[in-house]
């Protein structure tokens, strides 16, 4: 008997992509530390372009980690993913709503939360909650 709903292999990347994602994240973090420690060495680099590139690469790394399947992916992990996805969406919306209030409280310019900040926070929240929920089971 084949249950299409509980066929968790569909739509996920192979497990090896989790390691690739972690490597990408580590690479970005090492680059950020290098640029911070040795600012004089990279005078020709456009800082804004570099910031966007590093942030997008960091998002890509997080996405690969989130999208890759576990070594043993079964209906329980699928149920956890589904639950955490809902929590992540609510967290994202709340963050979007609360960000201007926090900026007001700290007397910063009220610009709201940027799309990249929102995506990073949602991906990080998803990862954190996924591992917490898995441990709790």
């Amino acid at each position: 008997m084949k249950d299409q709903f509980f066929e968790p292999k569909h739509g996920f990347l192979p497990n090896v992509f989790r390691r690739i994602g972690i490597a990408v994240i580590v690479g970005v973090l090492v680059s950020i530390v290098t640029f911070k420690l040795l600012p004089g060495q990279f005078k020709l680099v456009n800082k804004e372009l570099l910031r966007i590139f590093l942030l997008n690469t960091f998002i890509l790394g997080l996405l690969l980690v989130v999208w890759a399947r576990d070594k043993v992916e079964d209906e329980m992990t699928f149920a956890i993913r589904f639950k955490v996805l809902g929590m992540t969406m609510i967290n994202g919306v709340l963050l979007l709503l609360i960000a201007p209030i926090i900026q007001l409280l700290f007397k910063e310019p009220v610009t709201g939360i940027g799309s990249q900040q929102l995506v990073v926070s949602m991906l990080l929240f998803y990862l954190l909650m996924y591992f917490v929920q898995k441990r709790a089971r």
Partner: protein, 66 residues
């Protein structure tokens, strides 16, 4: 939902890992089912009952809260 997976597994002297392999899930999932933290799908419940060679109702029963 209550279940007697642990009892049935003990009758066959089977480990959680062996049962998990037979029904193609992780050992953690079997552990969660036994502890009542996770209610399996119909397909998985039927697979587990098949391993124990008994009816699914003998392994999984509704409790008062269901």
């Amino acid at each position: 939902m209550k279940n007697s997976v642990k009892v049935e597994r003990a009758k066959l002297s089977m480990t959680q890992h062996e049962l998990a392999d037979k029904v193609a899930v992780s050992r953690q999932t079997i552990n969660s089912i036994e502890a009542g933290r996770y209610v399996p799908s119909t397909v998985l419940a039927l697979k587990i009952a098949k391993v124990f060679n008994c009816m699914v109702e003998q392994v999984f029963q509704l409790d008062d809260l269901d």
